[in-house]
């Protein structure tokens, strides 16, 4: 039984490693910045995820302790990955991408990055703030 579990955990680690390497390979291979953004935001979540599952199961099965830190790492990863991706995309919109290349919004307003009315700080927040 111990050996089967060991093989399973080893398989998880290998799968995780493969996905991490694919994510890094995507960074090298894909030609444009926006395409490169896809590889690390996704291909690596499963890479890290399965390594964490392996770690959790190892300590649970062999040491008899349930470790929750791995769950927390997963949670923080899922919270931060989209935000980082959004920041990088936004920087790209400002620096390297022309407004004309984007599809129209279709509602008569600009995309927020190019709209002169949108300032660095959200106007809604400014309005809510107490003047005193």
């Amino acid at each position: 039984m111990d050996q089967i579990v060991e093989y399973l955990l080893a398989a998880l680690l290998v799968i995780g490693g493969l996905f991490a390497i694919v994510g890094s390979f995507g960074l090298l291979k894909l030609p444009t910045m926006m395409q490169r953004l896809h590889a690390p935001t996704k291909a690596t979540t499963v890479g890290v995820g399965s390594a964490l599952i392996a770690s959790m199961s190892y300590f649970w099965y062999f040491e008899g302790t349930l470790s929750w830190h791995e769950l927390m790492i997963t949670l923080f990863l899922f919270l931060t990955a989209p935000i980082t991706a959004n920041f990088i995309a936004k920087a790209q919109l400002h620096r390297a991408i022309n407004k004309e290349d984007l599809p129209p919004t279709g509602v008569g307003k600009e995309w927020a990055t190019y709209d002169p009315e949108v300032t660095a700080v959200s106007p809604v927040l400014l309005n809510d703030r107490d003047p005193g």
């Binding site: 390979f25 291979k29 953004l37 291909a43 979540t45 927390m72 599809p103």
Partner: protein
């Protein structure tokens, strides 16, 4: 009770997070978790004037599971494109997805979900907040991606938040 915990779900989440971080149940860490669960919602309340009602907690749990499954699928999908498709054949493109959601928190979750799931990254939104700009890694059929986002994620979030 209401004054001590103006935002019960956030307090509960902070409490659980701290306990999981400490990784052991001791009286000291329980007290610390309680202190954080009281102080942090109070300190952050000015930045978060309208608390979104989370109407259906079980539906939200189901949504989280669905998204996790989709993340695994997305990983395999992106790995397949990276490994086995020639760069010339990858048809990337921008999509404009009109959204019906009104709650800012729901839109944030939708945008995050789109970034984490098959071949799409949320890049921007229109200044009125009614359209999302999405970059798709490989989109031979853009309309089906937009339909997928609307039926699979947005409809569920609408039921949960609005």
């Amino acid at each position: 009770m209401r004054r001590l915990f103006p935002h019960p779900l956030l307090s509960l989440l902070l409490f659980a997070t701290w306990m999981l971080l400490v990784n052991q149940i001791k009286i000291g860490s329980l007290v610390m978790a309680l202190i954080l669960a009281i102080i942090i919602p109070k300190l952050t309340a000015p930045y978060w004037p309208n608390r979104p009602p989370l109407k259906r907690v079980p539906a939200f749990a189901a949504y989280v599971l669905l998204v996790m499954w989709d993340i695994v699928r997305a990983n395999v999908e992106v790995a397949r494109i990276v490994l086995f498709m020639r760069n010339e054949n990858i048809r990337s493109g921008w999509l404009a997805v009109p959204i019906d959601l009104k709650t800012p928190e729901a839109i944030t979750i939708l945008a995050g979900t789109i970034t984490m799931t098959p071949g799409t990254v949320t890049s921007d939104m229109s200044s009125c907040g009614r359209v999302l700009l999405i970059h798709a890694l490989h989109a031979p059929d853009p309309d089906s991606i937009v339909q997928d986002i609307k039926t699979r994620y947005e409809a569920r979030l609408k039921r949960i938040f609005e």
